[in-house]
Amino acid sequence: MHDKQIRRRRAVLALLVAVSLILLTDYFGGSASSPLHQVQRGIATVLSPLQAGASTVLSPIRNAASYVSSVFTAKSELTTLQGRYNQLVGEYARVQYEGILYRQAQQLLGLDKSYNLASYGPVTGRLIGEDPSLWYETITVDRGSSSGVSIYDPVVGPGGLVGDVTQVTPNASVVSLITSSKFSVGAMIENESGAAGLIEPQVGDPNALTLIDLPPNSNVSFNQLVVTSGFRDPHDPAIQSFAPPGIPIGTVSSTNPQNSVLTNQEEQVTPLADLQHLTLVQILTRPHGG
């Protein structure tokens, strides 16, 4: 009985394998119009509506499974895209930075041409450090004594005067900004009267300066340009302003007319240089050579 069962099992197995091999050989060797191909096409034709129907009916299951599958895919894609996004953000930031540099370089070039700064030996430096306090005291520039920078050299940026050099190392300089509490420079209104005074900061406000010691009854009007006076004592040439004359500082933002002939006049001035967004500056290494 057991032997019979084994023989039957083996016979069935051999039959199935033989049928499979015959089908395989016939199908593989036959042309596209062979009976087996035709049978396959016929069955597929009959089954295709059933297949389409099943596909439609089972689409919710497929969609649900696809959703689960896509969640896995989405997770890995998210990581990839996040990396790509970070890379693009980095590239974008670099391009933006290059754009800022370019614009500031253009402005500096314009300043050079307009005010003939080339004669003062300008050295272009890049901002490498900034005073993090709200006092807007100093910035650090990547040019030092090895580039010819000396202490008290005036520094200009896009727009106008930025400050002066107060510390020098071979490869870097610290610049005191015009908003620094210790800063002061001789300035004048650029008009027919040429009223001169002193520019002083309003500590803590990077967008406000005060022009003090103007002669009484000076003819000052809104938006007039304030430039460095380049003061020099005719009796003692050693006494002179650190900045050459004619470098723009700011514009008059509010006038404060004084009626008294005894009181000096004061004016509010808005600096032209954007001290909070400096990237490139020029240090005038020969301020009195012009």
Partner: protein
Amino acid sequence: MNGRDNNTLALVARIALIAVVAVVLQVAVVSQITLFGVTADVTSLAVMSIGLLAGSMAGAIAGFAIGLMVDVVMFQTIGVTSLLFITVGYWSGRLRELRDPANGLAPLLLGALATGFTGVGMAVIQFLLGVEAPVSLLLLQQIVLQVLVNSLLALPVYELIRRVLYRVLPRGPRTRGARAYNASLSPLERPSERLAGSTRARVR
């Protein structure tokens, strides 16, 4: 027709139903879902499960039928999948007949083996038949991934098919499970009998 014939007929009908459902599901749903870059293959798992539950003969015949259906419906070379599935079904059945694996994870291992065998076997037959296009080593990676995905599905598919065939199996895991449960209980583990015996002893 006696009860045994009725049972056999019911078994054949249910296996046929499983075969059709497996192929339809494979074609209409499973083939269209990609998981880790590959699609699962429930047909090979169905053949393995039928073989493991119903024996080598049923496994081989079901393998042949399911393989043939897959080849026809998927427009593949007729006979290739049949040949592979006969082997899967037959050896799954033989494993049950020779070893009768009681471990619950046996279907998982067998599902992985069946999928791996089908993937490698299909590649070998395609090579033998002559593949003109260059074959990438990525195929090997795809086979490994499909083995992993099918391993995840092996236990649920086996359990589903076991439930469908449960009542019509001649000597299946149903009887084995029941026997194993009862036989493992020694009199010490049967508190009711132990207590009953002690009561009787006191009465005497």
